[in-house]
């Protein structure tokens, strides 16, 4: 008998998931029609923009590696019950630390060694920024949401200061960033594309690590327990403080490496907006995945394709801005959240 309510609940959930997806698509088509463009033309332009040439596929892969790392890190904080909005700052500080090390040792050490050191520095930068938010949360009782936002502003200020101040390009400082590093400090690529095997490997290892930790270890289980009810966890002997700090630290490492990849793999320099909003986008990915690491890869891939595909939209279709990617991502996540809420309400009401 017990199976019947469960079955009905999952049927509800499926129905609402499909309903939410349909509603999101209808809304998106309406928005595109509103600006006076054909949805089919937009779809074609997006597809072509993301996968039209190997170059573009390479860019999708590069975006994906960074987004995957951010999302995988956020799986830990979300499961610990945290809204880690500071992830953007952690990416930025990781990128700053990476740039610092490359500037320091880039010309003295062989390329691969310098790059390795700089990746480690990125991880350390990210973890330090993550732990600041963590310490504020655990010891200062400051909401991680606002501590994170504040730390984002500070990290961005630091990046801007460095790009326009001490690290400015010889001659005139510019928003395009610092002087690009020599090619010996770039990560190797797949053929002529921009995609880097090291980035892909790091992202996949990171995601696999997250899945294993969350699904196969007691630590993952305890993290979820803390996320569910920190006080109960404390009473049962699971230190919520230690687990919250671990979640911040793990997310910081992942975000820091993501920032490092932006520097050594994508931009080859520090730019004022080096995170490219991929930290915040990671939050959306994990929300859409329902905090489940298993769903992160397909969603992150789709979102990366949207990001890259939308870049040349304004060139192909004059009336469509590249912000369409953000609109699509936001509408999908909003629809999923509402669908989930409606399903829970219906299931709860009929039980």
């Amino acid at each position: 008998m017990a199976a019947i309510p469960a079955l009905r609940e999952s049927a509800f959930a499926t129905a609402h998931r499909v309903g939410a997806l349909v509603a999101a698509l209808v809304l998106l088509v309406a928005l595109v029609l509103l600006v006076g463009e054909s949805p089919l033309a937009v779809f074609g332009a997006l597809l072509n923009g993301a996968f039209g040439t190997w170059d573009q596929v390479g860019r999708v892969v590069n975006t994906l590696t960074v987004l995957l790392l951010c999302s995988a890190g956020l799986v830990f904080t979300f499961n610990a019950g945290l809204y880690n909005l500071g992830v953007e700052g952690q990416v930025t500080v990781g990128a700053i630390a990476t740039t610092f090390v490359l500037r320091l040792v880039g010309e003295m050490l062989p390329g691969p060694l310098a790059i390795t050191l700089s990746l480690v520095a990125g991880a350390l930068g990210g973890v330090s920024w993550g732990l600041v938010a963590g310490a504020l949360k655990v010891y200062g009782r400051v909401s991680e949401i606002f501590a994170g936002l504040g730390l984002n502003f500070i990290a961005q200020g630091a990046a801007i200061y460095l790009v326009f101040g001490p690290w400015k390009r010889p001659g005139v400082a510019s928003t395009s960033g610092t002087e690009p590093f020599g090619e010996h400090l770039w990560l190797g690529t797949f053929g002529r594309t921009e995609a880097t095997p090291v980035g892909v490997a790091l992202a996949l290892i990171g995601l696999l690590f997250t899945i294993l930790i969350m699904q196969r270890t007691y630590f993952g289980l305890r993290l979820r327990a803390v996320g569910h009810n920190p006080r109960a966890a404390d009473i049962l002997g699971v230190s919520s403080a230690r687990h919250l700090l671990s979640a911040f630290a793990l997310c910081g490492v992942f975000a820091g490496v993501a920032g490092a990849l932006q520097v050594v793999g994508n931009y080859h320099r520090l730019t004022p907006t080096i995170s490219g909003g991929l930290g915040f986008l990671g939050l959306l990915v994990v929300m859409l995945a329902g905090f489940n690491a298993l769903f992160v890869l397909p969603i992150a891939f789709f979102f990366s394709a949207l990001n890259v595909g939308s870049l040349q939209l304004p060139l192909v279709l004059q009336r469509v801005d590249s912000s369409l990617s953000g609109v699509i991502q936001g509408v999908l996540v909003l629809a999923a959240l509402m669908g989930r809420g409606l399903a829970q309400r219906r299931a709860g009401g009929s039980a």
Partner: protein, 324 residues
Amino acid sequence: MSGEQILVVLATAIASATPLVFAVIGETLSERAGVINLSAEGTIMFCAMVGFAAALASGSVWLGFLAAAAVGALIALIVAFNAITLRQSQIAVGFVLALLFSDLSSFLGVPIVRIPGPTVPAMPLPLLSELPIVGRLLFSSDVVVYASYVLIAITWLFFYRTRAGLMLRAIGEQPNAAFARGADVIRLRYLYTLIGGALMGIAGAAFSLDFKAGWSFRHTGGYGWIALAIVIFGGWNPLRAAFGAYLFGVLQSLASVAQDQFQGVPTQVLNVAPFALMILFLVLTSAGWLDRLLVRAPASVRRRVLQTLRTAPPAALGKPFVQD
């Protein structure tokens, strides 16, 4: 700094703080009723675009403000439905809306980027504007600025001097007790969240039709996040929140003065500095170590310091109402 310079700094501060005043009062109203509207960043940015577009199309700035308020309330309705009726995480839905409507403002706003449009006409108040110093500072601007003064006063009176205001505070603190006393918690939470959203919409229009006089991509970037921080800084009290908005205005205004004084510091840093400072201050004052720092202080001093520097959030903030 000469007296004249100080006056200019303060006048600029008031002008730049006016949109924020609408936003922080709106958010305070919503949070006092128990609902966090985390969409502020998106709501303000989108409504700045909508307000400007509506004013441009209709030729009337006031219709622009009306449209912005209506759209702000509509976005708040999404928050309210998810938070109150569906009992989902207010943070999640608010955050998604913040990103979604920021991007939507760029997507739908392409045709009106950087084109000239109507602005709120200046209107120095007769007699009052001729007062020394205060006249130039407070009474020589426009209706929107005056309306923000009135809004602060009315909200404070409503909160602490009316029965309805008492009920508003009750549904954010003790919704079950308020329900037992006959308050329709659900309906009131909807009402105040929508009013709060409308005020945030007005904040957006105040940017595009008054303070910044125009619209372009991500013109109001960062203001929504800072408004949320100022609400906490203001201890959920409309007067203190408004004070926080003006303080932020002074910081920004000083930053623009400092650009001439410190040539070494890139201007871009000074633009971000007020945001960082504001949140830093918030973090420092709301943290638990303040108690430890004041352990040796006499009890009366300690109480006074803690009372001035921080207040507790509404007890039921962010929690869905479930009838006992």
